[in-house]
Symmetry: C2
Subunit: 418 residues, 2 copies
């Protein structure tokens, strides 16, 4: 399968991908609209819909591509997602004339990616952050409690906490260094000021589709139908604030100052060729978490830091989505087993995705062992993030001659307000 | 001040109160609208606005009372809230003819309260639950850790966690008993099934007004301008699920199956006559939490349980909002000090409001000391809630010959789905 649009071999956005986002263009600055990425272009789905090129019954009669977010499309569910994908793959393929040979429609509907501004693709009602990498969990235990013994509940259920939805921002948004309290030294009052231990967390996040009514759990074997796709996520963390506040109710202000997601939602359908076995789980999960088919995805992840004032960026970790112990479908089934309702656009962070080797740790807390050693970045070094540092996460699945990639999820630290 | 509408002396909804809610009536079943409560009536604010009776500059030109929620009104801020309150108190007073002598408008705009269905008054973007009663915190320590020594961070900052917004329901909604995992006995797998330790929590919740931009904290002395008012809240809790899951990231499924709020938001302006000194805080709060004037409110709270199959309800606790250690303005300033943004309609739960005596404890966990003793309810008794039990919270401020009350916040437990 190839597209009439030239896609460079290194592009993340081949015709096999077609991730969804929401963009603004000078031509429609006041009305953001959904699009898919193809090579160096964004295809404006509202134009394609208006041109009558969605022939399938589920999309043709819907106004979901004339919205300023994807929530209505997500609510339609997997049959509509499959219909839209089939239509778009055909429309963009090299042997299909409908768009290829219609110069005026191409002019309207295919916008150079460098001319658009990407926005949050969904309205996020609730955001949940899981804690599903065994390596990350083990390292946190070693760093904070001096033991790699993981609490037994961790192996029985996907541990999670509710996050803050209001402060989720799109890739490229600056992150203001948070102020807050840190541990007191001895009997003195707590430290108060700009965080001294600002960190990134390499995560991905699943975007929820139709969801469920309050009181009606989703079966783990139906859970995939409620996940539209996946984005990259940086769960910025102020380790000093977090360490002082989190007992007994968990992370709060150490996280809620900002969470960055990438603009393009890569669908589970596009990820399917990269599915791989999930890790064997011991003890065996309880029946409500036992999946007939338990899938992870082989998604290579990389974090680079561009230190303040420098031109070059340096790779600080390489990890993979397949290091997760709990699958995203298990996370979803667990989240609803008590009757909790999910709504279209809800976000599930995976938790920091660390691999087994130190080069695959997903945050500075682990990479610098809570600031006890420095991480070299060319001519400089870091224990935690400094003002002006930019963190760039990327993720990609490598196919045979094509990529299904996520682009990047980036953010630069700017100083605390006075 | 008295109203031309007869208000019974025991009514919660005197002309001094005028709490805001959103209702549906048979006449406008498909379009919910804002109203205020007065005696046994609801005043339809969209009718009053359409009749041109809001003369003030901030409300007359706004469509905030033609919305299906109060968010737009909340966004307008305190000057608009004061203008609306002044207009409505005058309009409803016994010496004002505009509504009193307009029979056709009265017919349209004054609806008997028993004919309307109350809905969630706001769209809640994010819900945060604090942990601000010292007595509750102390009791939890004694029950779970055998010590009444409170962790030192508790006295330095208002501890809180992010809650689940999607499962917040309006008073009167049935609560389905959640299923979930409980602690394993010895080496066996965890318990899985309907919660065996279902509890209520007596709370109140502040409703956020204009809020702030990401990165721009709200000063504690300006915080009151960002709180529109207060509701009653029952933060239903499954203690067995909570106890097993909460280490290390805090409460999750033990809470997210349902949270009930009362329909009428009592404004801070209406509560002002009942302001009282907040408790002296030792150690002195850090400067960002130090208020020029630190206020609590004298709001009598009561919880009754109507056991399954019985006609009578029994008072199980009497507490007061003024038992809170941290004020709601300190909670708000703390919440934003890291730059976290608040949006109109966000909800801040106080945490369980327990007083010092056992008759004032705010949940069954404390009242039955985690099920180690029974709570007598007439001819029956309870350790935790059983299917069919109804929990009714009420709250009221007693003025000189009038009340400023909250009505009730109720919910009945129904069995887990098979």
């Amino acid at each position: 399968m190839s597209s009439f649009i030239q896609v460079k071999p290194e592009s993340h956005f081949s015709i096999h991908n077609l991730p969804y986002g929401v963009f603004k263009h000078a031509r429609n600055a006041s009305s953001p609209r959904p699009g898919v990425a193809i090579g160096d272009y964004v295809l404006d789905l509202s134009e394609i819909h208006s041109a009558g090129l969605f022939h399938g019954p589920l999309i043709s009669g819907s106004d979901c591509f004339h919205q300023s977010n994807l929530n209505k499309f997500l609510e339609l569910g997997r049959p509509a997602w499959k219909e839209a994908r089939a239509t778009l793959q055909k429309l963009l393929s090299s042997d299909e004339p409908a768009l290829q040979n219609n110069a005026s429609l191409r002019q309207k509907a295919l916008l150079p990616m460098d001319e658009v501004e990407m926005l949050l693709p969904v309205v996020i009602g609730d955001y949940t952050d899981f804690f599903s990498s065994e390596h990350h969990t083990k390292n946190c235990g070693l760093i904070f409690r001096g033991t790699d013994t993981i609490n037994p509940n961790w192996f029985q259920l996907p541990i999670a906490y509710h996050g803050r939805a209001s402060s989720i921002v799109i890739s490229g948004t600056d992150i203001i260094r948070p102020r807050g309290q840190g541990h007191p030294a001895g009997d003195s009052p707590p430290y108060f000021g700009p965080s001294r231990k600002l960190d990134f967390e390499l995560e991905m996040a699943a975007v929820v589709g139709p969801g469920n009514e309050l009181g009606k759990p989703i079966d783990v074997n139906d859970a995939a139908d409620h996940i539209f796709g996946v984005v990259l996520m940086n769960d910025w963390s102020a380790r000093d604030i977090q360490a002082w506040e989190y007992v007994p109710l968990g992370p709060f202000l150490g996280k809620s100052f900002g969470t960055t997601i990438s603009p393009w939602i890569v669908t589970l359908d596009a990820l399917e060729p990269f599915a791989c076995d999930a890790p064997k789980q011991i003890p065996q999960p309880l029946p409500y978490l036992a999946e007939k088919i338990s899938k992870n995805y082989d998604i290579s992840l990389e974090v680079r830091i561009k230190p303040a004032g420098q031109e070059d960026s340096f790779t600080v970790t390489k990890s993979n989505f397949n290091h997760l112990y709990w699958t995203i479908t298990q996370q979803l089934a667990h989240h609803t087993v008590n009757g909790c309702n999910l709504r279209p656009g809800d976000l599930f962070g995976t938790g920091t995705i660390s691999g087994p080797q130190s080069e695959s740790y997903g945050c500075l807390l682990e990479l610098t062992w809570n600031g006890t050693k420095e991480l070299s970045l060319g001519k400089t070094a870091r224990k935690f993030l400094e003002d002006g540092d930019e963190v760039i996460i990327s993720g990609c699945c490598k196919g045979d001659g094509y990529n299904v990639g996520f682009g990047t999820c980036s953010g630069k630290i700017i100083p605390s307000l006075p």
